[in-house]
């Protein structure tokens, strides 16, 4: 039995200090007995949508496995796969893979190899996550473990926090807004619920 609940979707709008739209974010999630899936679509921050996917599977033999993915629009994704805490993380570009332990994530070896994977996948990802983090700073939010690929890519460049990030606020995006239907569909598609 693997009963799945219908996906939940949250639509949000990020605005600047004057209330002007910066971007919209759709978060979709679905849950079944052995699996949790989520997909975030950030639209308007960059030329392409920034898409984050996360899947957590529970298996009685192997325990919990987490699969994370980050991509820009329809471009190639950078993937991360990890098991129980303390186990090795596998990062994969379309061309190669690199496996590392979390405890080593600040080491140059991990930073260098992740950087290579980003170059193989999509060099624009680094600038994309820098923009994304700046927006999070502006909202006074930290990047969460749900956004693991962002955390990993931020570790590559070790950029210091922006001294005065531009003010950003989050507010609900009405289902009636003209952009809502497309954004909702994009989030469902990213979740694999087309």
């Amino acid at each position: 039995m693997n009963a799945e609940e219908p996906p939940k979707i949250t639509l949000e709008r990020v605005v600047d200090g004057r209330g002007n739209r910066v971007c919209d974010i759709a978060k979709a999630s679905a849950k079944s007995d052995n699996e949790r899936r989520s997909a975030w679509v950030v639209r308007g921050l960059l030329k392409s949508d920034l898409v984050l996917n996360r899947q957590v599977r529970r298996d009685s033999n192997t325990g919990e496995s987490t699969f994370d993915e980050i991509r820009l629009g329809d471009r190639a994704p950078l993937r991360f796969e990890s098991g129980a805490p303390g186990s090795r993380v596998t990062a994969a570009s379309p061309a190669s893979t690199f496996r590392y332990f979390d405890v080593d994530v600040t080491r140059l070896t991990v930073r260098c190899n992740l950087s290579r994977l980003v170059q193989e996948t999509d060099p624009d990802l680094l600038n994309a996550i820098a923009e994304y983090e700046l927006m999070k700073q502006g909202m006074g939010e930290k990047v969460s473990i749900e956004e693991l690929p962002v955390l990993m890519l931020l570790a590559i460049e070790k950029r210091p926090p922006h001294p005065s990030p531009p003010v950003r606020k989050k507010e609900p995006l009405s289902e009636d807004a003209p952009e809502a239907a497309e954004l909702r569909a994009a989030a469902l598609a990213a979740l694999g619920e087309e």
């Binding site: 090795r88 080593d104 140059l108 070896t109 260098c112 190899n113 290579r116 070790k158």
Partner: protein, 278 residues
């Protein structure tokens, strides 16, 4: 015309492939000389004198005339430990310094190598950056791949790691996987014996020979880092081989050994002349 185009295309493809996968032996060109040559048998320290050797080893250093005579001290060198197991299996452990082009210091250089007749595990050195200090506060803002690194190339996989991270869990686990995918069970068993070599405490070898033997064994230490014994548990020692050393022809293919190895004359006194080697 078509044939010429085909040849040009073949050359271009071949050059591109070479650019991706450098050849270990490309760094060792020119007339070759023999700088050192000694033969050993390896035994457990506690073994009786008539016990059969664990393996036989021949140590040689090859020097290649890449620069002019006055720079002979800096000619490229290959420090080789040629190992023959009782089964007849042959292995070469190598620590080397190739021809360094001063105008292209960013290019990777041959460093350590372990090879059998079937396969090879190569460690290349790259990223020599003058003045780079990974512990300095500025290091965080430098590109993530700047600094002294090694690149492992082997059929079992590839890995690029920073020298400072050699002992990390990430590097150890990857090296173990690469070695497991490169060497078969017999090769791993044979090479594991080399990890038990005790060279450090053997004063009879003398400083020069002990240094070079230890350095050639490093190649095995990198490949099998996870199996490396602590020094007090390394119980295999070298003894001079009483048998006459055979000629080196049986190693020619495995080691890429040149013909006609003349003795390497003592290098001229230090310091070298002013100016570059290239």
């Amino acid at each position: 015309m078509k044939a010429r185009a085909a040849v040009l295309l073949l050359c271009a493809v071949s050059a591109a492939l070479r650019a991706e996968e450098p050849d270990w032996f490309d760094s060792f060109k020119g007339r070759a000389f023999l700088q050192g040559d000694a033969s050993f048998v390896a035994r457990e320290k506690a073994a009786p004198p008539d016990a059969p050797p664990l393996f036989r080893a021949r140590w040689v250093i090859l020097r290649y005339a890449a620069f002019t005579e006055e720079w002979r001290r800096f000619w490229p060198s290959r420090n080789l430990l040629l190992v023959t197991m009782p089964s007849g299996a042959q292995y070469v452990l190598e620590s080397s310094l190739g021809h360094i082009d001063e105008k292209h210091l960013e290019e990777e250089q041959p460093w350590y190598r372990v090879a059998s007749k079937r396969t090879a595990f190569e460690v290349w050195a790259l990223g020599w950056t003058p003045g780079y200090d990974p512990s300095s506060p500025d290091a965080a803002s430098t590109p993530p791949c700047d600094g002294m690194r090694n690149r492992v190339r082997a059929p079992g996989g590839t890995l690029e790691y920073f020298v400072d991270d050699f002992g990390s869990r990430t590097v150890r686990a990857s090296l173990a996987e690469i070695a497991a995918g490169t060497f078969d069970e017999d090769e791993r068993r044979d090479l594991a014996v080399l990890l038990k070599m005790s060279v450090e405490s053997d004063r009879s070898l003398g400083d020069f020979l002990a240094f070079h033997l230890r350095d050639s064994l490093q190649a095995g230490y990198i490949a099998f880092l996870d199996q490396l014994q602590p020094r007090d548990k390394r119980t295999v020692v070298f003894e001079p081989d009483p048998a006459d050393p055979a000629d080196l022809s049986s190693w020619r293919a495995l080691v890429h050994l040149p013909f006609n190895l003349a003795p390497f004359p003592a290098p001229p006194p230090f310091p070298p002349p002013k100016g570059g080697v290239n």
